[in-house]
């Protein structure tokens, strides 16, 4: 095994171009587990810890450019107002020790359907900035996940950052697990209200081969809110609408039975989380048209 230690982003891209099989390591919270357990013996490890800009974020007028290695702890502590859904999701990642090391780039690179950041990224609607010596490109999050632990990146590319729109409305995240810490999601759900465009976006984790949006549920809810004039009136959402939204969200799942839970349970739980998170975000919207508050809440 070779340990590649680029001191700059350019050096990292050059190293990845020269050794496309090199496994990038930043927080190490996935890669080191695989090495410790002898599940993986990469020929090259590409350490990204020395590249300072991966640990930085920039808050622009409309978007946040979030460096791939910004630890979840930093997202929780510094970006709660701009990225409430992702901040909530970050808070559910494992433990303080893990949140101090892991970042969104790792979730995206690994592309496990159980990654906690995915539902929030899907609901916010973001773009993944990837780069190689051949150039830079932006991959819409909707096109990023291509299969179980597969993504749309080429072998010579690295994740530089994620560009997320700053929240224009309330966002929520909910996750089912056996305790509040150190849990891989049985399933998870993220929702973002977008009052500016009068749309709703969602994300489902651990309930399909890839993280997915509940597109039919989104379309139904967006239409129902529009037709009922709810964005303007701020009236409570009728239970029948919430119920239909929940059923459509459950229907968007394509889960499996595994040690963490059965397919039927996951489908059921996603429906429940969809209904609850819709309630939380809508109450927040009613209370404050630009509200994006909301503490961590259990499902």
């Amino acid at each position: 095994m070779d340990f590649l230690r680029p001191a700059s982003w350019e050096e990292a891209l050059a190293a990845k171009a020269e050794h496309p099989t090199a496994v990038p390591i930043a927080g190490g919270t996935d890669v080191m587990v695989e090495i410790n357990f002898d599940h993986r013996r990469p020929e090259y490890l590409l350490d990204l810890n020395r590249i300072g800009e991966l640990n930085e974020w920039e808050v622009g007028e409309r978007t946040v450019r979030l460096g791939a290695s910004v630890p979840y702890t930093q997202i929780m502590e510094n970006l709660r107002a701009e990225l409430p859904g992702l901040a909530l999701a970050s808070h559910t990642v494992a433990s303080p020790q893990i949140r101090n090391r892991g970042g969104v780039g790792g979730n995206l690179g690994t592309a496990s359907p159980a990654g906690d950041a995915h539902p929030a990224l899907l609901a916010a609607g973001c773009e993944v900035e990837v780069e190689s010596v051949r150039g830079r490109r932006m991959i819409p999050i909707d096109d990023f996940y291509t299969g179980v632990k597969r993504n749309a990146m080429a072998p010579d590319e690295l994740i530089r950052s994620v560009h997320l729109p700053k929240a224009d409305g309330p966002q929520q995240f909910s996750k089912v697990g056996t305790r509040n810490a150190m849990v891989i999601a049985v399933c998870a759900f993220g929702i973002a209200l977008h009052p500016e465009t009068r749309t709703v976006r969602t994300g489902i984790g651990s309930a399909a081969p890839t993280p997915v949006r509940a597109k039919e549920a989104e379309a139904f809810l967006t239409a129902a809110l529009e037709e009922g004039g709810f964005w303007d009136s701020g009236s409570p959402i009728p239970p029948s609408v919430a119920k239909q939204f929940a059923q459509l969200a459950a229907g968007a799942c394509n889960p499996i039975d595994d040690v963490r839970g059965s397919a039927a349970y996951r489908r059921h739980a996603v429906g429940i989380m969809a209904r609850r998170t819709l309630g939380w975000t809508w109450e927040s919207y009613r209370g404050n048209a630009h509200g994006s508050k909301g503490g961590a809440q259990c499902a």
């Binding site: 230690r5 810890n49 150190m182």
Partner: protein, 199 residues
Amino acid sequence: MRVTFTVNGRRQEADDVWEGESLLYVLRERMGLPGSKNACEQGECGSCTVRLDGVPVCSCLVAAGQVEGREVVTVEGLADFAKQRAEGGGCASGVCGTSVAEAQQWQARPAGSQAGEQAELSPIQQAFIDAGAVQCGFCTPGLLVAADELLERNGSPSDADIREALSGNLCRCTGYEKILDAVRLAAARGDSHTAGQGA
């Protein structure tokens, strides 16, 4: 490969390090510092918790090569680390820190004992002893490092704060109540023992 980094305030070198090796392995097997415990090797249990540039991390998930040039504090150096912090930080004389030889022989020595002139325990270590928060002791080093860091940034944590800060550390003896007692005790003693002052 060779890895050069700071352990408990002193510059150290480790040679013949395998590229896939963890920081935990380097500490335990190459430097003879077995304070950080090796249990799950997947970041689940927290018993290998150390400070990396001040941040609590699972040393089993840090590749050895990633610590090149960086600063690590292990449980063996915790007493000195807490002392430096209480005295206002910094190391003007350049002779502070804990040498590997000292660290390898480190033994708990309660402040009140006759064995040594100096108090050899950090406030959080003393609080663990006083509260009876140590059963088999395997999870203790990781909990001490995590709890010490909590009190460093939050001198009077709520129970929820303590639970969250320690949520990445498992105790298979299930001695959590006494562990919570110990952290509360250290926090309550904060003023006199300077445990809870920000670094």
